[in-house]
Symmetry: C2
Subunit: 635 residues, 2 copies
């Protein structure tokens, strides 16, 4: 697509110069009072060139919108169709909308809740139960110390710019991104080189520093979108919701920005629960909170911060297996499990292609020992694992033994700081000091807590290497952290499942979500074909057996035409419809093929059970029961 | 119990005065140099009285601790046993404990998460699916306007007192409660009347105003628990966690204090989703946040704020059925459904008796039209329902028609305010004005927006009653709101399920949670009787079929004695254990009876499936398979 766009831009530029040159020719011929036939021929050629150009412009526009050259529906229109259906059928509701809402916050309405609950149940089944993961559930309100240690208090920021007159804030990268996209998509006159430059900026967007972002904003003359006022330099804004724990106002806290920290701080207990064995996996399902301003990706963007399940595998880095390999094995293992999870949901990759482009829905991060180290250091509680050796090992250990009496005599009140500085030397520093003391008897030693050099004499410290037997080693395990944006996965599932098909009469487009039964908000509907007490009784009997089998379903006894009732539930993604058209047998219709089979009343619930819990496919069922032709019922 | 306590206090007081009088007798005899035998006899009588008193004191102590007169385990000790087991087996973990924690915040550890997930799934099945409720899922961060309308910004408070020297805060009612309980339980010398007074204060605690609380604290001389410093007067403290939405710092928000408001603000959409029909029920499962300080009820207290599912039935109050009756019907209906829910979990009531006394776990509130009215008023969006009349009704309506031309001539710039004031008159005011205008032709009329009287003449306004046909009525529906403290329910479930039984050797007490299979964190375990490759293979085959059947289970292939393995899993509340003791058949042991049956290997998973999903009871199964005697294996 990019190549085609690129060559179209080049052809368009050539066409434009042909038009200009042909225009000159026409003007020259007119000025020279050339024969009418000659002038007309030149004008005709000019018009043909202009026509070519307008066709090319349409092609280029289609290419940048991601459409095929046949002009098939573009991304923007497709997304709008999906979003309209999702909002009309209350999969999503703009939050607090009677109070004019909060930009980018959405509630899940009834079918949205059902889909979310199905996805989370399957997540728990696929990861927690089948993998014996250790699940935890921690509070959302988190004391500052925890998020200080994890680095979020200092570094969990977005770069913002302010409208210099009104004070309105914008995300610096969003403004730059909007500018580049707008230029590429709407300004068909820019050169292929300029387009390439702008695309490069888009690709680098996440890696730009505050200074680089500021420089680009200046270079492109980007101003505040609403007022066209100049913008401030980019500055960092912390994305955590701050609050205060308890009534004193003196205990700052935050709404957790991710679910992983709750797992890290519980490492010791989880390690114990796992019988002090590595590796193990822990998981947390829950919300993470990010104070993102003016989220611009509508449904996609916000759902990102609604639920961030999180699972972790703490992998041992034994001696026999190099750390790199273990991590790669763990990574590879998770990539496989994640792939299985997503394909069962009808998604295809951890980076999912949607109308917004490629979206990261599952990130698998190698956090190595970073977080466990950080919490060990700040809390003072060692978050470490032990590995017993099959037989004791002899190891050489550096022993630094300050002679406190001598140091006390020499440094008085400063003794403690000197002792600490001596003990904190690494192996090289200590061996250098040992060598100096042995050759010169004294050495100058910088004590940073004192901010000055002191003179250490030979009798003040003994440094030696000693052999010791060790029975185990103590180490900080490495962590692989896959994290799932369940909201994003659900949104992408909606886009992937959505399609439109003409009604039977061909006079309108009907919306369908082809949800797999696993995630469908309602598994089947029960429709008496016509309003009739006998049929309604049969529908109620079937409904009872569906409830007993745990199959979510809906009865619709309105007199609406059966075609309209099918269309209504297709739009909710209901995979099967049971239509009661006799008192002994009923039809079952599959949503996408619109094929129907006929089954006895008492077989309806068991058949539904087997096709919704995945024990049978529709193809199996289709092969086992008589087919039913809908005649004029459908649509 | 109270009566026995009361009579014990009276007897104790009598005994004390007998002791004093007998003491006087002894002293008098000694002073009178009475015969040694006489003195000895009097002393013996005194000692007997003292012995009686000490027995009575023990009885009274047992009575106030809630023990039987036989001295059976008291509440405090029972709770400690439950809590120790829950914390040791990681049902709960004190949150952020490596950072010295946050008083009263607990994480759910692995088995706790499984129980919570099972309870919530059942909740969703029992209420949302079986009752066709409309589920919503709203953000936790809520803009101020919503909670201002609901009254939470102004009234969601606890009364606090401050240590006047250190500034440490305490809940005023907690200090008073502690004082009363301590006095009743520890001070055996107080009179029955004083005990009754203190109990009355405890009963009234929730209804005391700030002034009354302050007065009692002064009267009893209650001081700060840690420092004994004097305390401030009680003042209100808002329990919501405040934060700020977006980067400007100008949009205050709160973490939602309850889940109900998210349903109220979505009323219009949910009513539409339900086909504009009443009644309907909506539900939300999610967390509510309360900034409660120093929660003192340990596990019970805090879990209260961890999850507050919420469901509502909006009931029509039609003309034919009086509002009261409809509400009572709805109430009665929910009480029934809630009762079924709790009994399935092994709890017995919406007020559940626990070691903390009677705890409200489910509240069913009649909120009438309060919240919908409040949000209508503050948002300006009418949250109302319509009821179509079967045939149009004729109603008499008051029509006030100000004559703007005349009013404009008379009042110039003030015309608009006068018009508004005229239109805002209620029926009585308007009819009074009509009468005055008809008799006198003019009337003095107070316009509050002007702050003065104006003179209204007959030609300035026409007031009449007109008959109109109405096709529907518009009204604000009433709401019944059951809300569930899932955390409290789970904690009470733990207490109700916990018991201790002696080990077979009788040398120790073993802990058991008798969870019903529905909520048990793990449904069964698979134990090869001895470490042996063949048995392990059988265990793996069974494990595979359990996974396929969706039954959560654990394999334990350690060589630990089978009795110890049973005891370990009894403590986790695992209802069934499959022990592999041959390659063709296995035993299944039920946790509470310790009875065992023998089944073929391939029958193990189907039997497990039927007893865990409730299709068969253990009694059924026990009747259908050969019994197995455990011999020396158990314990």
């Amino acid at each position: 697509m990019a190549t085609s766009e690129d060559s179209l831009r080049r052809s368009l530029a050539e066409k434009q110069s042909s038009i200009e040159s042909q225009g000159n020719t026409v003007r020259a011929l007119k000025a020279a009072n050339a024969e009418k036939a000659t002038v007309d021929e030149a004008i005709e050629k000019l018009n043909a060139l202009k026509l070519d150009k307008s066709v090319m412009e349409k092609q280029l526009q289609a290419a940048v919108n991601g459409n095929g050259p046949d002009g098939s529906i573009n991304k923007e229109a497709f997304r709008q169709a999906v979003v309209n259906t999702l909002e009309r059928r209350l999969f999503y509701i703009p939050s607090f909308k009677i109070y004019r809402g909060v930009a980018g916050l959405y509630d899940y309405g009834p079918p949205g809740c059902a889909v979310k609950s199905n996805v989370l149940s399957f997540w728990r089944q696929h990861f927690v139960l089948e993998e014996n993961m250790l699940e935890v559930d921690c509070p959302c309100v988190t004391p500052e110390a925890v998020l200080k240690a994890s680095g979020h208090v200092d570094k969990f920021t977005d770069l913002m710019v302010k409208d210099e007159k009104t004070g309105t804030c914008y995300r610096a990268d969003h403004l730059l991104k909007d500018f580049c996209n707008e230029k590429i998509q709407k300004d068909l006159s820019i050169s292929a080189e300029k387009a390439a430059e702008l695309k490069h900026v888009l690709a680098m967007l996440d890696d730009l520093s505050a200074e680089e972002l500021g420089a680009k904003i200046k270079e492109y003359g980007i101003t505040a979108p609403d007022t066209k006022n100049p913008l401030s330099d980019p500055y960092p804004f912390n994305l955590m919701f701050q609050t205060s724990i308890g009534p004193s106002g003196l205990s700052p806290g935050y709404m957790r920005p991710e679910t992983a920290q709750g797992i890290f701080v519980n490492f010791k207990d989880l390690y114990y629960y796992n019988g002090n064995k590595l590796p193990f996996a822990a998981a947390q399902i829950g919300q993470a909170f990010r104070n993102e301003i003016s989220p611009r990706q509508g449904l996609l963007r916000v759902q990102n911060s609604k639920s961030l399940p999180n699972l972790q595998r703490k992998s041992s880095s034994g001696e026999a297996v190099s750390k790199g390999i273990v991590n790669n094995e763990t990574l590879g293992y998770f990539i496989g499990r994640v792939y299985l999870f997503l394909t069962r949901l009808d998604c295809w990759d951890a980076e999912i292609e949607s109308s917004y482009g490629w979206i990261e829905c599952v990130g698998i991060a190698d956090r190595s020992a970073y977080d466990l180290h950080a919490h060990t250091e700040k809390s003072g509680v060692p978050l470490v694992a032990h590995e017993k050796f099959s037989e004791p090992k002899e190891v050489e250990k550096l022993v630094i033994a300050p002679v406190k009496k001598e140091l006390g005599l020499a440094f008085k009140g400063n003794q403690k700081k000197v002792v600490e500085a001596l003990e904190a030397m690494n192996e090289k520093e200590a061996l250098d000091m040992k060598a100096s003391l042995e050759t010169k008897g004294v050495v100058e030693f910088y004590v940073c807590t004192l901010g000055e050099n002191v003179t250490i004499k030979k009798n003040m410290v003994s440094i030696s290497k000693e052999k010791k037997k060790e029975h185990q080693r103590t180490f900080t395990p490495s962590v692989i952290e896959p994290s799932f944006g369940i909201g994003r996965i659900i949104y992408c599932l909606y886009e992937h499942s959505f399609y439109m098909r003409p009604s039977k009469a061909g006079d309108e487009q009907l919306n369908v979500f082809r949800f797999p039964p696993l995630v469908a908000p309602i598994k089947c509907t029960v429709f008496p074909l016509v309003q009739n007490q006998q049929y309604e009784n049969v529908a109620k009997i079937i409904s009872k057996s569906l409830t007993a089998a745990g199959i979510s379903h809906k009865i619709d006894i309105t007199g609406t035409s059966i075609g309209k009732r099918y269309a209504r539930t297709d739009e909710l993604g209901v995979p099967f419809a049971i239509t009661v058209d006799s008192i002994s047998s009923v039809t079952i219709r599959e949503r996408d093929s619109k094929d129907q089979i006929r089954v006895d009343v008492e077989e309806a619930a068991p058949v539904m059970k087997s096709v919704t819990d995945g024990h049978r496919t529709w193809v199996d069922v289709w092969a086992s029961f008589p087919h039913h032709s809908s005649g004029s019922a459908e649509d």
